[in-house]
C-alpha cells in the first residue's frame, strides 16, 4: 500500500509540472495537413507532423513519441476516411486526452464534408485495400484543400475564440491566394488534359480527376496489392498496343516496378512529390502543386 501512496504522490508532482501553453497545439497526421495548419494558424498554433512524405500514411507505427504528442494536443488534424485507421485510433485512445476524442472539437478530419471519389459499391477485401468511405488520398485536388481550409478556419476560431478574427483573416487571405494559384495551375496544366497515364496505386485518383489525366492502367492490380510478374507481363502487352504518355510515381513509392515497366514500354516515369516534402521544391502546399504541375509539363514538352 505504501508503494501506491508514494506512486500517487509522484504522479501529483509530475502533474503540477505540466507546462502551460498559449498556442493551439496541433497534431497533424501528414505534412500536407501540417502545412495547411501553419498557413491558417500562423504563430497562434504550434504544429507537430506525425509522418513524413516518404511514409505510407496507411502503415505507420503508433510510436510512443506520437502518443506523447497526442497527449498534449488541442487538435488532431487527420485525413479521415480510414486512411489512418491502423494507428491513429491507438494514439487517441492511449493519449488520455479527452479534447481529441472523435466527436470532440479537437478532432478534425479533412475528409468530412468532402465528396470523395471512388466510394466502393461493394465492400469486400478480395478487392484489395479498399476504403468504405471512398478514396482517402484527397489532398492532390487543390479544390479540396480550399474546402478543408474553410472548415479548419472555423474549427480554429471555435477552439481559440480569442483569436477568431486572426484566423478569419488568415483564412480569407489564404482563400484568395489559393484561388489565384488554382487558376494559374489550371491554365498552365491545360495541355495535360486527356493525357493517358499509368498510375501506381489509387492515390493519384484526385490528381488525375483534377487535371483531367486519363488513367489507362495501375501498376498495383488492386489497391495495396503488389503486382505479380504475370500481371506486369499482361500490362506490358496491353500498354505496348496503346502506349500511355507517362507513368506516375509518388516520391514515397518503391520505384522498381515503375522503372521496370518504363523500360519495357518506353514511357518515361515522372516522380511526383505526392505530399509536402516529397521533393525539395514541394516546401509548402503552393510548392506541392507548383512542382507537381511543373514535373508533369516538363516530361511532355
Amino acid at each position: 500500500m505504501r508503494i501506491f501512496t508514494r506512486g500517487a504522490a509522484a504522479l501529483l508532482i509530475l502533474l503540477a509540472c505540466g507546462p502551460a501553453q498559449a498556442t493551439v497545439k496541433i497534431l497533424a497526421t501528414t505534412a500536407d495537413w501540417g502545412a495547411l495548419a501553419t498557413e491558417l494558424g500562423g504563430d497562434r498554433v504550434s504544429v507537430y507532423v506525425a509522418t513524413n512524405a516518404m511514409q505510407d500514411v496507411h502503415r505507420v507505427d503508433a510510436k510512443p513519441s506520437l502518443v506523447a504528442r497526442a497527449r498534449t494536443a488541442d487538435l488532431v488534424f487527420a485525413t479521415g476516411a480510414e486512411l489512418e485507421i491502423g494507428w491513429l485510433p491507438v494514439l487517441v485512445q492511449e493519449s488520455g486526452n479527452p479534447r481529441i476524442q472523435p466527436g470532440a472539437a479537437g478532432y478534425f478530419e479533412a475528409a468530412a464534408g468532402l465528396n470523395l471519389l471512388e466510394v466502393p459499391s461493394r465492400l469486400d477485401r478480395s478487392l484489395g485495400d479498399i476504403h468504405p468511405q471512398g478514396n482517402p488520398h484527397l489532398q492532390l485536388d487543390p479544390h479540396n484543400i480550399a474546402l478543408i481550409a474553410k472548415a479548419l478556419t472555423s474549427r480554429l476560431a471555435m477552439l481559440d475564440a480569442g483569436n477568431a478574427t486572426y484566423y478569419q483573416q488568415r483564412g480569407s487571405d489564404f482563400d484568395t491566394r489559393w484561388a489565384q494559384a488554382i487558376a494559374h495551375w489550371e491554365a498552365k496544366a491545360a495541355p495535360l488534359k486527356g493525357l493517358p497515364v499509368v498510375v501506381m496505386h489509387r492515390d493519384q485518383a484526385y490528381l488525375c480527376h483534377w487535371l483531367g489525366l486519363l488513367e489507362v492502367a495501375a501498376i498495383e492490380p488492386k489497391p495495396g496489392v503488389p503486382p505479380s510478374a504475370g500481371y506486369l507481363g499482361q500490362l506490358v502487352s496491353k500498354l505496348s498496343a496503346s502506349p500511355p504518355r507517362l507513368i506516375l510515381l509518388n516520391a514515397y513509392n518503391d520505384a522498381k516496378a515503375a522503372n521496370w515497366l518504363s523500360e519495357r514500354v518506353h514511357v518515361p516515369v515522372v516522380t511526383l512529390p505526392f505530399s509536402v516534402g516529397g521533393t525539395a521544391e514541394a516546401k509548402d502546399l503552393f510548392g506541392l502543386f507548383d512542382d507537381t504541375v511543373n514535373r508533369l509539363l516538363a516530361v511532355i514538352q
Binding site: Q55, R71, G86, W87, Q93, A104, P226
Partner: protein, 461 residues
C-alpha cells in the same frame, strides 16, 4: 434583416436616380450632391454590414451543429438500430506441429507449473484460438471492448472484457473488467500479433503466457514530448502466480512505468520497469516423490516479481510496410516467500519455502522486404536453488522435489513469416528447446496461419 431592407431600398433608389441624371441636365449639380450623400450613406451602411457579418462569422458555431453538418455532408447518416453495432473482428489461427519429444510431457525444468496453455502444443494439425472482438464507444465517457477466445477444444474463454474511460482529464485513463496487465512489452499483446508462434519461456514460466486478472487499472501519461506512462493495477489476484480470492480488497497489485521516444526520423524506442505482487494460497502442483510416486504439493505465500522491458524499432524513413528491424528484450525476477506443503493428500508435511528465480529473452525480427520477415529469439531461465526447510532440516531428501531441482532451461527459435496483406500471415518456426524437465532435447517445427476478417484493427506500438 431590417438593415438589409433599408440597403436594398437605397440601392433601388440609386438605380432609379441614376438614369434621371443623364436626362435632367439642369439639375446635375443638385443630383450630384444628392447622389454623393447617398453614396456616402450607402458606403457607411455597407461597412457596418460587413463588420456585422465578420462578427457573426467569428462567433463560435456550436460543435454539435458543426459535427452534424459534417456528417450530413459525408452522407453517411443512418437511422436503423444496426448503425450502432460495435466493430467486430475475428482472427482465425491454426498450426501444424512436428516435435521430436512428446509434447504431453513437456514441462519447464526447475519451475512450478504455471498452468496456462504453455509448451509446444499438440502434434499434427491444430485449430488455434479464434479471437472474436467487439468494440465500440459506450457513450461520451466510456468505451468497451470484449475479446472472446474460442479454443480448438470447443471452449469459449473471456480473454478480455473491459471498459475504458475516454473523458477523464489530465492524461488519466481508467480501465476495468478483465484485461491483460499493462506491464512489460509482450504481456498486453494478443497472440495473433506475436512475432513468434509462442511466448518466450519467461512468460510461459512466470505467467502461463500472459498475466490477466479481473480488476482495475489507472494509467497516466505525462504532458511532455517524451513519452512517460505510469500505471497501477489492483485485481482479484486469481491468476498465476496468485490464487487468492478468499480476501476482500486488493489481492494482486501491479505497478509499471514506460518511457519512450524517437532517435532521429527512423528509430523509435520504449523501455519500462514493473513490479507485481500476488498472494498464493494452496497453489498446488503435481510432482513425484523420491520413490517416483505421484504427489501433490502446494505453496502458500507471497510472490513478488519485478522486471524491465525494452524495444527498439529501426524503420528507414518510417515506412512500416517496407523494411523494419525490431529488437526487444525483457528480464524478470521473482521471489516467492512462504510455506510449502509436501504431499497435501498424504503426509501433509509443511515448512518454510523461499525461492529466487529469473528469466529473460532477447529477440529480433527483421522485415527484409515487403511482406517478408525473419526472426531470431533466445530464451533463458534460471530456476535458482530454493531453500526448502523440509529438505534443509533433513525431513525429506532433495529428490523428493524433482520439480524444484536447479535448472537453467533455454531455447533458440527462428521464424520466417509471409504476410500477403495486412490481414493474413503464414509462418514457419523452428525451435531448439532445452527446457524440458526430463532433460531431453526437443526440436519443434511449426507452421502457422493467421487470418483476420471484419473491422480493421489498429495495432499498438
Amino acid at each position: 434583416m431590417k438593415r438589409f431592407m433599408r440597403v436594398a431600398a437605397h440601392l433601388a433608389l440609386a438605380c432609379a436616380v441614376l438614369p434621371s441624371i443623364a436626362e435632367a441636365a439642369d439639375d446635375v449639380a443638385d443630383l450630384r450632391a444628392e447622389f454623393q450623400a447617398l453614396k456616402t450613406e450607402y458606403a457607411s451602411r455597407v461597412g457596418l454590414l460587413e463588420a456585422r457579418i465578420e462578427q457573426l462569422e467569428s462567433a463560435p458555431t456550436p460543435i454539435a451543429a458543426q459535427v452534424a453538418q459534417h456528417q450530413h455532408a459525408a452522407g453517411d447518416s443512418h437511422s436503423s438500430a444496426s448503425a450502432f453495432n460495435p466493430a467486430i473482428s475475428l482472427i482465425l489461427g491454426g498450426s501444424y506441429t512436428d516435435v521430436s519429444q512428446d509434447p504431453g510431457t513437456w514441462r519447464i525444468a526447475g519451475f512450478m507449473p504455471s498452468g496456462g496453455e504453455v509448451g509446444p502444443g499438440k502434434q499434427s494439425f491444430n485449430l488455434g484460438e479464434s479471437e472474436l472482438t467487439f468494440a465500440a464507444s459506450v457513450d461520451p465517457y466510456f468505451s468497451a471492448t470484449m475479446t472472446a477466445a474460442i479454443t480448438g477444444e470447443n471452449e469459449i474463454e473471456v480473454e478480455e472484457a473491459f471498459f475504458r474511460s475516454t473523458a477523464l482529464p489530465s492524461g488519466f485513463t481508467v480501465k476495468g473488467g478483465r484485461f491483460f496487465s499493462g506491464f512489460g512489452y509482450l504481456n498486453e499483446v494478443h497472440s495473433h500479433a506475436w512475432d513468434f508462434a509462442d511466448q518466450p519461456l519467461v512468460y510461459q514460466a512466470f505467467f502461463g503466457n500472459q498475466q490477466k486478472q479481473d480488476g482495475l487499472q489507472l494509467k497516466w501519461i505525462a504532458p511532455a514530448d517524451l513519452f512517460v506512462e505510469v500505471g497501477a493495477e489492483a485485481g482479484n489476484g486469481q491468476a498465476f502466480p496468485g490464487t487468492r480470492r478468499s480476501h476482500n480488497g486488493l489481492n494482486g497489485e501491479t505497478l509499471f512505468a514506460h518511457l519512450g521516444g524517437d532517435l532521429g526520423a527512423s528509430t523509435s524506442w520504449r523501455a519500462g520497469v514493473f513490479w507485481l505482487e500476488q498472494q498464493a494460497e494452496d497453489r498446488s502442483y503435481e510432482d513425484v516423490n523420491e520413490f517416483d510416486e505421484p504427489v501433490t504439493n502446494a505453496f502458500t505465500g507471497k510472490s513478488s516479481t519485478w522486471g524491465v522491458d525494452a524495444i527498439l524499432k529501426w524503420t528507414p524513413q518510417g515506412s512500416v510496410g517496407r523494411r523494419q528491424l525490431k529488437v526487444q528484450g525483457e528480464y524478470m525476477h521473482r521471489r516467492e516467500d512462504g510455506e510449502l506443503t509436501f504431499d497435501t493428500e498424504g503426509l501433509g508435511l509443511n515448512d518454510a519455502y523461499r525461492s529466487e528465480q529469473s528469466g529473460w529473452y532477447l529477440q529480433s525480427v527483421f522485415q527484409f522486404r515487403p511482406r517478408w520477415r525473419a526472426g531470431l529469439r533466445y530464451d533463458s531461465l534460471d530456476s535458482g536453488s530454493p531453500s526448502i526447510a523440509l529438505v534443509d532440516d533433513g525431513a525429506l531428501p532433495p529428490e523428493a522435489f524433482p520439480v524444484l531441482l536447479h535448472a537453467d532451461p533455454d531455447r533458440v527459435s527462428v521464424m520466417l513469416d509471409w504476410s500477403p496483406s495486412e490481414f493474413s500471415r503464414l509462418r514457419a518456426q523452428y525451435a531448439w528447446d532445452e527446457a524440458r524437465a526430463d532433460g531431453e532435447h526437443d526440436r519443434q517445427f511449426r507452421l502457422q496461419y493467421l487470418y483476420g476478417i471484419g473491422a480493421h484493427g489498429a495495432h499498438k506500438y
